[in-house]
Symmetry: C2
Subunit: 259 residues, 2 copies
Amino acid sequence: MYEKPQDLWKACREGVWTRPTAGLAPGYAQANLVILPKEDAFDFLRLAQRNPKPIPLLEVLETGDWEPKLTAPGADLRTDLPAYRVYRNGELTEERQEIRDLWRDDLVSFLIGCSFTFETPLLAAGLPVRHIECGCNVPMYRTNRMCIPSGRFSGPMVVSMRPIPAHLVAKAVTVTARFPAVHGAPVHIGDPAALGIADVGRPDYGDPVPINPGEVPVFWACGVTPQAVALQSKPAFMITHAPGHMFVTSVLDEEIANS
Amino acid sequence: MYEKPQDLWKACREGVWTRPTAGLAPGYAQANLVILPKEDAFDFLRLAQRNPKPIPLLEVLETGDWEPKLTAPGADLRTDLPAYRVYRNGELTEERQEIRDLWRDDLVSFLIGCSFTFETPLLAAGLPVRHIECGCNVPMYRTNRMCIPSGRFSGPMVVSMRPIPAHLVAKAVTVTARFPAVHGAPVHIGDPAALGIADVGRPDYGDPVPINPGEVPVFWACGVTPQAVALQSKPAFMITHAPGHMFVTSVLDEEIANS
């Protein structure tokens, strides 16, 4: 469909593409977007520094800037995503296709790594990715592990789960550990109850997937965490991407991998 | 001398220890200290996010806090270092043993990793550390590589240099790559001129060391960078540790290593 990020940016800008980004511009890192006013941006940046597994930063833009000069030069974060969500006082008030008229000089944009990036190397290493096999969304869960709070922001870590055959769990660790910028190695392997997950068949976000005999549930920190934590503290104003409608950077997956 | 960080903190607090910290509390991570008012702290934190090799953050404290709850619970950053420097409008105005009377509710403290931490594993792996052999300070150089700027902060990366026998250079890379929180792998191996260093025998900071036949100069990003960059932009108020008089955390070196 769209092979290059630049083509996708243009299609979003012109209102031609308004759907999810999974599978588009393969090989390029996709990112979660969080936009906050400067008054909340320092607390949020320190939150990311303290919680790099759930909130791995790909880029933090200059205050008031909408062009990601480091990870997507030429793009415009006000128009180049398929869909946005606007929150006021912690409530979702709008979903829209562009945010040009909402822009303010005091807004700071955060691009946060997305685990889509490590699913390609997982598949390449012969590991199953169940929600891709099932054609559904990855199951995600709120946990009993709290993020280290920062200023006004506090809340639980959200995790995603992929069932992995026991003899391949170590491989799943080493493959994903190479990608700390997109959540990296798992945060928990095995017993869901230890994370406070009562029923692994009933995720808080996304869809349930079957765990086959001989498979272990493996949990990775999830990019839903920063939005969940930010919303819990009800910031006066926040803009994010709409779920699944990510920003696609012009950075190759391999460029953000550890050597 | 002082085996435990807690004993050193107390000795500093009581004015009993006022000298450099090299070799004290062996095995515990030592840190550079930068304290800035909140108005400059966001630009500085974003600078660190963009330049993790020269500015690897161990902890960013809550605004107004002086206890590093994550890396040194029980310590007081106002008293528990042997010596401090106070800068006003980019000029060094005082060196003193404690900063209690200068404390303000809007100050944000940054603890930044120090390459002292990876010299122990270098030695353990059989690699020479020339400035330790010579009993002098490590040679450091301003380079022609600019940090990615952030808001008011911009300036060159400073590097430290250790001569390594050619057949051990790869080992020096792998040993230090395990410690991204204290500058990690080298940023440059070989030709000093490519970094804009005219004469490797005349460092900008620290002391010169001999490079023996068959040795390659290996350059690591250096913790002097954040102070040099911050000073270049002349912040109204900044406090740092005095050179060599580091803050010793209660985190073990191995705790901040990659597995």
